[in-house]
Each structure stands twice: as structure tokens, then as C-alpha cells.
């Protein structure tokens, strides 16, 4: 599977990672190489196979629908690069 430079840029945009022209060229070859290598999975017949969604068969746990945690806004913003009055501060998104 060849990934061209335009695709690398589209994926980087989706992943919200800015890449330089030089990085884009390098990634084109690296991602193509890795995707070529995983192509071998096509040899495996999986038509009648269920995807693995859990490792150990166990019933989904349930608990009483009550609040067990919270009231810690100051702790939640404690590591924020910018916070004000227990809010995260971000660049303006709505004019």
C-alpha cells in the first residue's frame, strides 16, 4: 500500500500533528513500508471469525448509579498550562 505525500499530510492533519516538508517525505516511505508489511494479513481467511473484543470472558461489571467522585475542580486544572478560576484557558474559538 503506497501512501503518497498528500495522504501523509491529510493523516497528520487528522492527528493534529504539524509536520515539515522533510518529515512528510520521510513518513511517506516509512508508512508505506509498514503498511506493505501488514498486507500479509490478507493471506489469512477471517470470513467466519469474530473479532476479538475482550481477552477474558467476563460479564460487564455493574455498580449502583451514584456519584463516587468529584468536587475537585482545582485538582483537575492543577496541571493545566493555562487556567483561570478553575477553567481551562484556550484561544478564542467563536467570534
Amino acid at each position: 500500500m503506497h501512501v503518497d505525500e498528500a495522504t501523509v499530510r491529510r493523516i497528520a492533519r487528522l492527528a493534529r500533528i504539524k509536520i515539515t516538508d522533510e518529515e512528510a517525505k520521510g513518513l511517506e516511505a516509512e508508512l508505506s513500508g509498514i503498511l506493505d508489511w501488514v498486507e500479509q494479513l490478507k493471506q489469512v481467511d477471517t470470513d467466519a471469525v469474530e473479532p476479538m473484543t475482550r481477552v477474558v470472558g467476563q460479564d460487564l461489571k455493574q455498580r449502583a448509579d451514584v456519584v463516587t467522585d468529584g468536587e475537585k475542580a482545582a485538582e483537575i486544572v492543577a496541571n493545566a498550562p493555562m487556567a483561570d478560576d478553575n477553567f481551562f484557558v484556550v484561544p478564542k474559538v467563536v467570534e
Binding site: 501512501v3 495522504t7 501523509v8 493523516i11 497528520a12 492533519r13 487528522l14 492527528a15 493534529r16 500533528i17 504539524k18 509536520i19 518529515e23 513518513l27 516509512e30 508508512l31 513500508g33 509498514i34 503498511l35 508489511w37 501488514v38 500479509q40 494479513l41 490478507k42 493471506q43 489469512v44 477471517t46 471469525v49 469474530e50 473479532p51 476479538m52 473484543t53 475482550r54 481477552v55 477474558v56 467476563q58 460487564l60 461489571k61 455498580r63 475537585k72 485538582e75 483537575i76 492543577a78 496541571n79 493545566a80 498550562p81 493555562m82 481551562f88 484556550v90 484561544p91 478564542k92 474559538v93
Partner: protein, 493 residues
Amino acid sequence: MTDLTKLTLVEARDGLAKKSFSARDLTSAHIAAIERANASINAFVLETPDRALAAADAADRNIAKGTARPLEGLPLGIKDLFCTEGVRTTACSRILDDFKPTYESTVTRNLWDAGAVMLGKLNNDEFAMGSSNETSAFGPVVNPWRRRGSDAKLVPGGSSGGSSAAVAAGLCLAATATDTGGSIRQPAALTGTVGIKPTYGRCSRWGIVAFASSLDQAGPITKTVEDAALMLSVMASHDPKDTTSVDQPVPDYAALMRQGVKGLRVGVPKEYRVDGMSKEIDTLWQTGIDWLKAAGATIKEITLPHTKYALPAYYIVAPAEASSNLARYDGVRYGLRVPGKDLIDTYENTRAAGFGKEVKRRVLIGTYVLSAGYYDAYYLKAQKVRTLIKRDFDRAWNDVDVVLTPTTPSPAFAFGEKSGDPLAMYLEDIFTVTVNMAGLPGISVPAGLSAEGTPLGLQLIGKPFDEGTLFRAAKAIEDAAGRFTPADAWWLT
């Protein structure tokens, strides 16, 4: 007085109980060793000596009162993937910057509740993505082992390279580690230490920086099999905060370990005899078979036909889950922020500056395989292959109780030897990754030395939640092989 840093975890525990030395003596000896060695080994990315000495003094008071807990006063190193309350936790990534968790991971909470002492945080590959510890933002870790007659730096394996190097160099009695595709067992094999990845769900993942949530699992790296049994018995627990953690009692692993291997059925999978496997690995494997046979086990060749597909399937599942897990690093809630002209530009600048090369590569692969139109062809396909890999093992368990393989295809390699080629590095996990894909427990135990004089490990794979049998078989190998420590403690000079 004996060198306290040379003791095993169990020997140190027994020495404290007999009052041969104090917890303060034990912790001080390790702090002194770290001070001398860390500049050359680079295993610790953060040292917490004041906290360690305070915990050691508290331990001495408990021992005096007769209220010692299972790990009372025993100094450990903690992989920097475990959140430690008030103590910087970075996953060795620039993007977490100076992150100080306001909570404690369940696994480390269990250790402190059992009386253990934290010496500091250990180096690892960035977000645990790597097999050589070369992708850490804090720089690579140096393996205490060297090739005979050479002083070239070797890698300690990865991603838990700080953990394996610190234990091998006597900088802590034991260490926590995590394993997503081999990150406990491969570094253990490359440093002559013991490493066990328990069954998925045995240890809580709560408070561990997430890489690939359906594969990640915590476990210890230790000097001996018995030490690993002791560490795991404390680290494992049922945790309501992790819905995948399993509500099953934690057995007495050390007692199970002593049961021996008489009558144990050991499987040897023919698919692990891969092309290009070195003669010495093949010989080591045969030696392991002979040891288990001599100890009373029976050997049977088995087939695990989907083995060769485990690694490519892993390199879909793990990056896909990583791209989702790492979406949280947005420059808003914690860690680094590199401002841009608007919010999206801020995200892109932050993630460009904060993530290293290998992490970017995997996030992009993961984003690609999950993007519109590709989900079925890649992620769903890989999850189906996972079912087949697990089915191979389920069939094998009809005939055998445990599976024996090499841990790695080769011994410790030099810096830079594989870091230029992602696929060459990924092949380091060829023997370990099936275990994560099937959610099984696996242990690596030192079994011999390479022609270069560096350690080699054998891996044992068990049924779900049958860690007890792994400890039994690993003990038989350890009893036959002996322990392996570097001849010359060059890092202390």
C-alpha cells in the same frame, strides 16, 4: 557488612526481619549506588531520596513494633509510566512536561500499602513505544552488561529499559514495568533479569499512562523468580476503577513456585523456529527443554499456526489504540503548550513539539488505519486475526500446561544498530507479542550467555491466570541455569 545492593528482594526482606540491617541502611545503600551510577546508566529520570528515607524510617518503626507488611522497607524503582501522586510523571515524553499527578496508580498504591519504598522514577521508551529505550526524551539507558572485551554501549531493551538496567546494576531491589508487546520480557532477557507480564486483567491499569489499552499490562522486573512472585502478589488486585481488572483472588505465587515441574506438560511450538534465528538461541532453547525434562516435565511439540501474523496484526492494533489514547495530549489540560494562531494550530504545534519521532510514526499509522474506509480492512481484520491467535493457544492447552520459547531472537545490541529501521526494531518483539495479542501471561527467565558474554532469556507462556505454573517452570530453569550478573561493576567506578 555485605553489599546491601547485591541482595535479592527476598534476602533483603529476610535480613530486615532478622534485624541484620535497618530499612534506612538498605535504602541509603541504594541511594548511594544511584548517585554513583546514574550518570553512566541513566536508569533514573527522577530521584526521590528524601521521600525514600522518610519511608524507610517509617518501615523501621513498623519492623520494631512487629507490624511489618509484605514489602516493608524494600526500596523499588518505578517506571515513569505509573502516575505517582505529587511526583513528576512523564512517560519520558516532552509532551507531559512537568506533569505532577494528583492521584496514585493502583499498582503503586498497592506497593506503598505493603510498605515498599520508592527510590525514584525509571526511564523508558517514550510512551513505552520502543524496544531499546532509545526513544526516551531523557536519552537512552545503558545496559550494565557489555560484550566480552569491549566497552561499547549496549541497549538494555525496551520499553522498560530503565527498570531492567536498574535491577541488573543493583540500583533498586526490584522495579515496576509495563508490557504491551514485550516491554517487560525483552528488557529482562537483555539484562539477565526476570520479568513477568501477567494475564491481561490481573493488575489494574488505573493510573498507568495508556499506550494500547487492550494490550497494556503491568508487571515486575526482578533479580530472581521468587522475587517476581513476591512483587506480583502485591501488584495484582481487583480494582473497581478498571473495568477490565478481574475479580479473582491473588494466589500465593511463592508457594505455587515451590511445587516443582514433575509431570508438567511443556509445549514447544515449531513456528517459533524462525528463519535466521541464531544457532546460540536454538541451542539455548534445547538446553531449556533438557533442563525441564530432567526436572520431571514432559515435552511435546505443538503447533501455533498463526504465530507469524501476530506481529503485523500488533502493528495495526497497538498504533490504532495509541492514536486514540494519545489524543488527550492537546496542550490544554496538562503538559506542554506551544501557542498557535488559533486552537487547531495550538494543538498541531504542541503535538509536533511534544511527541518524538517514533510516537508520531505510530500515531499516524493508527490514524490512517482507523480513518474512514480503512477500519474494516485494517483494525477489524487485525482483531479477527487476534481471535485466531488466541484459538491456537486454546487448542494447545488441551495437550500442554505451559509453552517454552526463546524470549528474543538475539542478545543485547549496540546503540543505533536498529534505530534507523522501524521494521528491524519491531522484530525484537517477534516471540513476545503473541502473548499480548492473546492476553496470556508470559515470563522471561535468564538461561545463559551469548558468545559475546551477554545474557539470553527463555520465555514461558501460560494459560490465563495460571501465573503459578509459570513461576514453577521458571524456577526449574533458574535452578538449573543459575543467576547471571555482570562480572565487572564498571558503573560504580
